[in-house]
């Protein structure tokens, strides 16, 4: 990721074009280059609009150059997010500049670098994730601009995005470096549990809601897998991402203290806290659990605003968006912090995260009354959560280890676009190694997989079956049906397309018999 920037093309005039820039990373970029980057996007959008409107206004615009990929995306009316990434390796036939004429082998097909590991959709997903992260901390940006002026937004973005990008780009986990199909999925892996256990989980969390009415939403994760959430799909996904970031990170011996943010705006706390958490020593699991995010030190509460950051979460599905309509979740006592009509239906909450062995409980609290600033409140909650959740957590652990023990003969990833459930073998815990199942994905497989998924999302292609070019690899299968995607790799022993078909049927019989009717995977 070479550059990340935010701008509003309607700001500034001819001579003050630098006012269009709201945020620019790296900050050391000369102002003239910043202005040019914005101008490039303006020129491209104006040019393409000459030829008729694009299908949807939120459609990202991608510019491919020989060395880079630029993605622009209008996140909110007038507010654009852009990311520029460098192509990992220059394709062989890169000499395509103005000097290249007919010097190539006579009449060869224009050997344009068709092999592009990064599909546009992968970068779109990344850019959208950048925006959603900012939104999580700040809420709707246009509202901030309206309240505090564009200069205020500029200051806030600088304060919020620096730690945020630091987290995204932190070593070993550079999201841009390991972009693969699982990142575009942006799905969540679910812990499959039976209905009885599910009800027990629900009951435990309902106890919490009943005894602590200022807790508005809860979610439960087990080893990074989603067990329960009372939020909408989008909100759950955002929290899932956030919690994964909080709990992950390189283990360092030297804990990083929380920066002094006592004067900073509420919005600035979230990523500063996440950043500090990632770099602090992880305490060994306490049997009594602990607050990851909440009053860390019960006696010292002047930092509680930092420890209990404000998050802006989507509680209802976006109306009229691309997601399918769903019944709105009716909650009594709707918080008053209700946002104006916007793209997302966001609400502001205080975030508390409690870790109990392998389980993580996420609680969203009403901002007012500020019970979250009282240490006593945390003591009450901790004892309640431990009491209710301990027995359930043990059952979850049992289920989890049972599933881990199952030997999975197939290599596949499955995504349900409706609830963003990802099922892979084994669970995408191993995603850093780019694996599906036990074997690492080769470069070619990634190219093909990303391309296939892009084709699926464009909505025309339904299935792809192909023999991978290397003889040590087998076949690749990708299939989409009713918003459900499945990708499978076979080993090289499978000889023909007919055998692949049989493998696919066997996979369905084994892993999806309870999900699919016959129409899928036939």
């Amino acid at each position: 990721m070479e550059k990340v920037y935010v701008f509003n093309p309607s700001l500034g005039g001819e001579d003050t074009a630098e006012r269009k820039v709201l945020f620019f990373h790296p900050a050391s970029t000369p102002v003239s280059e910043q202005v040019n980057s914005v101008g490039l996007c303006e020129a491209l959008t104006n040019f393409t609009r000459t030829f008729g409107p694009t299908s949807s206004s939120s459609e990202p615009l991608t510019l491919h150059t020989q060395q880079r990929r630029h993605v622009f995306f209008e996140a909110e009316a007038g507010i654009w997010f852009a990311v520029v990434s460098r192509n990992a390796a220059l394709p062989k036939s890169a000499s395509r500049g103005s000097s290249a004429t007919t010097a190539e082998p006579a009449g060869a097909a224009p050997a344009e670098p068709s092999e592009e590991e990064l599909q546009d959709s992968t970068l779109h997903a990344l850019l959208r994730r950048v925006y959603e992260g900012v939104q999580l901390a700040c809420g709707q940006l246009s509202l901030i601009a309206a309240e505090r002026g564009w200069e205020g937004l500029r200051r806030l973005l600088a304060a919020v995005m620096r730690p945020y990008l630091q987290i995204m780009l932190s070593q070993g986990e550079d999201e841009t470096a390991r972009l693969d199909v699982l990142d575009t999925f942006d799905g969540m892996s679910f812990l499959p549990i039976d209905s009885l256990l599910y009800l027990k989980v629900q009951m435990a969390l309902n106890q919490l809601l009943t005894h602590q009415p200022n807790v508005v939403h809860t979610a439960l994760f087990f080893e990074g897998q989603l067990v329960y959430s009372s939020l909408s799909r989008g909100g759950t996904q955002q929290l899932h991402r956030l919690v994964t970031k909080m709990m992950g990170g390189p283990a360092t011996k030297k804990p990083e203290p929380l920066p002094d943010l006592s004067r900073a705006a509420d919005e600035e706390h979230l990523f500063a806290l996440v950043h500090a958490l990632r770099h602090s020593a992880k305490p060994s699991a306490l049997p009594a659990g602990r607050f990851v995010c909440g009053a860390g030190d019960l006696l010292q509460d002047d930092r509680s605003a930092v420890r209990v950051p404000l998050v802006h979460v989507e509680v209802r599905r976006r109306a009229g968006g691309e997601t399918e309509p769903g019944p709105p979740e009716n909650r009594p006592g709707e918080p008053s912090m209700h946002l104006e009509k916007g793209e997302a239906d966001l609400e502001a909450f205080r975030l508390v995260v409690f870790e109990l062995q392998q389980s993580v409980v996420v609680m969203l609290l009403d901002d007012k009354p500020p019970l979250w600033s009282r240490p006593l409140w945390f003591q009450e909650v901790a004892s309640l959560v431990v009491e209710e959740l301990q027995p359930v957590a043990a059952l979850l652990a049992e289920q989890h280890s049972r599933l881990q023990a199952v030997d999975e003969p197939y290599r596949y990833v499955y995504l349900n676009q409706m609830n963003l459930a990802v099922k892979a073998a084994p669970p995408p815990k191993s995603r850093q190694q780019d694996t599906i199942g036990k074997l690492a994905l080769s470069h070619t497989v990634k190219v093909i997989m990303n391309r296939t998924r892009s084709d699926f999302l464009e909505g025309h292609v339904r299935e792809v079956v192909l023999k991978l070019p290397s003889s040590s690899e087998g076949w690749f299968v990708g299939r989409i049906s009713n918003g459900r995607e499945l990708y499978m790799l076979t080993d090289s022993k499978v000889a023909s397309m007919s055998e692949v078909h049989q493998e696919l049927q066997a996979l369905r019989a084994r892993n999806f018999f309870n999900i699919f009717t016959t129409s899928f995977l036939d």
Partner: protein, 427 residues
């Protein structure tokens, strides 16, 4: 696919920057590196300076950062750039063509311009960057337009292969003998009928690349004036030699049968004209052969049902050794097995082929076997290295059935090589 033709419209007189102009689904622009418009598929290019200016600015802007612009995607829009020396070629499309194929079309457009002007065009621009190329290209718009139209529904440019006419092997051999009695200065002789290759003669040690054959075929097809008499035109074959002209003697020797004789000598008209006379006489002396030839030409290509594999809707078969391709007919008389009866349906089918082709060739090492299923088609592609076969089925076909049908078709096609392709041109 030539059976599906619609009347031509005069797009070049259209007013640019109107909604109707903008709504065209595939624009091509050619401009000089100084931003002067040279050609536009739609609209009068002299009024297109603003568009050319923007395109030129985009190219040079990215150039300034030490990079090269390639393409832009937003929604269904694709803007594809190809910079060749002083010429910038740009395609703006919402028609669903793959980026790879748009590039290929630009590449061919450039080659077609070189075929008219040779690569000396670059020197002209080197001397005077703001030179107005339209004067030199004058009247050859038609050739470029004809190429664009051809690229819309014919797979030849996509596969970089010449479509060949299916002929009984003895007829083809006899034609070869007729052409072999050539005059000394003949470099190539190309026999073409309805945009299908009938026969080809090459002088020893000279290579005629499929791209050059396609450019010659397009030049011949672009104007009906070639039908009337013998014509003599200088032409550059970019793959053969992009620096200079060769000379083409173009005439029709029988109904729909065009003979193109190519020589390096500017003053060889009369020996070639005499040879053409000789070819005509020999053909007329063989009425039986001419009859078979006529019936093959009157129904170029064949119906897909002839191969006895009822599941197959359509296919494209490319033999790599000769760089030729063969495909059954489309259109109203394509037979009950082939549902592609209108031009739009044929275009839709072609996009599916484009897609499969892009997947097969999208990795550094081409794929060997592929199945792609869309809402309207299932395609199975097999690439053995010697040949590429793309077979289209209904979207509802069961996989085992389609796989078996594909194998059966492949076996029958292998037996038909001699009639489907002109094999004597193998390298």
């Amino acid at each position: 696919m030539s059976a599906l033709c619609s009347p031509r419209k005069r797009y070049d007189e259209e007013e640019p920057n109107t909604p109707a102009w903008a709504a065209h689904r595939k624009h091509f622009f050619i401009l000089s590196s100084a931003g002067k418009p040279i050609f536009s598929r739609f609209g009068d290019e002299s009024k297109l300076s603003p568009v050319a200016g923007v395109l030129q600015a985009l190219v040079s802007f990215v150039d300034d950062s030490g990079d090269t612009i390639r393409h832009v995607r937003v929604g269904a829009h694709r803007v594809v750039f190809l910079m060749r020396g002083p010429l910038y070629l740009v395609a703006v499309s919402t028609c669903g063509d793959t980026v790879e194929y748009l590039w290929q079309q630009l590449h061919y457009l450039h080659a077609q311009i070189i075929s008219i002007l040779t690569s000396k065009v670059e020197q002209i621009f080197a001397r005077n960057a703001s030179f107005d190329l339209r004067g030199l290209l004058g009247g050859t718009d038609r050739v470029i337009r004809s190429l664009i139209r051809y690229a819309n529904a014919e797979p030849s440019l996509l596969f970089n292969a010449v479509p060949s006419l299916r002929l009984p092997p003895p007829v083809r051999a006899e034609l070869g003998k007729v052409l072999a009695a050539r005059p000394a200065d003949l470099l190539f002789a190309v026999m073409v009928a309805r945009s299908h290759l009938v026969h080809l003669y090459k002088a020893k040690k000279s290579v005629l690349h499929p791209q050059d054959v396609l450019l010659v075929m397009n030049t011949v097809a672009s104007s009906s004036s070639f039908r009337e008499d013998e014509s003599w035109l200088p032409i550059c074959l970019p793959c053969f030699n992009d620096k200079g002209f060769v000379y083409a003697h173009v005439s029709f020797v029988a109904e729909e049968l065009c003979l193109v004789l190519i020589t390096p000598k500017a003053d060889a008209f009369s020996p070639l004209s005499a040879f053409r006379q000789q070819v005509m006489q020999r053909l007329e002396a063989m009425p039986e052969l001419l009859g078979t030839l006529r019936s093959s030409i009157s129904e170029p290509q064949y119906r897909v049902d002839e191969f006895g594999v009822p599941e197959v809707r359509h296919f494209i078969y490319k033999l790599n050794a000769v760089e030729q391709l063969s495909a059954p007919r489309l259109g109203p008389d394509a037979g009950p097995q082939c549902p592609y009866r209108t031009r739009d349906m044929a275009k839709g089918l072609f996009r599916v082929y484009q897609h499969a082709h892009a997947l097969i060739h999208g990795t550094s090492k081409p794929l060997r076997e592929l199945l792609v299923s869309t809402a309207t088609e299932t395609v199975i592609a097999r690439n053995s290295g010697d040949a590429e076969l793309y077979v289209v089925f209904s979207p509802l076909v069961s996989k085992p059935v389609a796989i078996a049908a594909c194998q059966k078709l492949h076996r029958s096609l292998k037996k038909e090589h001699a009639s489907l392709f002109l094999l004597s041109t193998a390298k």
